[in-house]
Amino acid sequence: DVKVTQSSRYLVKRTGEKVFLECVQDMDHENMFWYRQDPGLGLRLIYFSYDVKMKEKGDIPEGYSVSREKKERFSLILESASTNQTSMYLCASSSGAFDTQYFGPGTRLTVL
């Protein structure tokens, strides 16, 4: 079974703090994704990566950056957290670019 793990289930940060969200997958998948999930807005793609050290902007990249130094690990970085970044963050991975995506359990981030 594919397993995607995220470093924290719940996180509370203050405005202006730098925030790191980590994601690890154990299936040797090429592609990894970061989404945020908000009520009524569904899942919105922030960034994705199709290879180590490669990254592509998704639909809402503003205020975020990513890092993929190893194939199995994809990090989402909030350089200076703001209250409008309070959300559920979901990481996913897939073998092919358009193949089934396997999601982690999510990190609920609250920015005060």
Partner: protein, 109 residues
């Protein structure tokens, strides 16, 4: 063009009922339509998927109906159970995966 419109936003049915979730799209380049199911506290997981050359697909109690000319597709859950209570997302794939806004389904005993 890249949107997938999903309705309703929430749905409440009694056990044994047949909830129906509808999705519509504009982009004719979409060629794969998966549905994801998300239980509370979990990430979404693929439930069932269809390609536009097929009008219906069944897997157990879950059925996708696809109307290519109308650019609409829907998920039906037969004999719904309380364990089906979850959020359901339709999606469409062309050059990327686009999710609908989600439907929160509650099935009461």
């Amino acid at each position: 063009q890249q949107q997938v419109k999903q309705s309703p936003q929430s749905l409440i049915v009694q056990k044994g009922g047949i909830p129906i979730i509808n999705c519509a799209y504009e982009n004719t380049a979409f060629d794969y339509f998966p549905w994801y199911q998300q239980f509370p506290g979990k990430g979404p997981a693929l439930l069932i998927a269809i390609r536009p050359d097929v009008s219906e697909k069944k897997e157990g109690r879950f059925t996708i109906s696809f109307n290519k000319s109308a650019k609409q597709f829907s998920l039906h859950i037969m004999d719904s159970q309380p364990g089906d209570s979850a959020t359901y997302f339709c999606a469409a794939v062309a050059d990327k995966l686009i999710f609908g806004t989600g439907t929160r389904l509650q099935v009461f005993p």
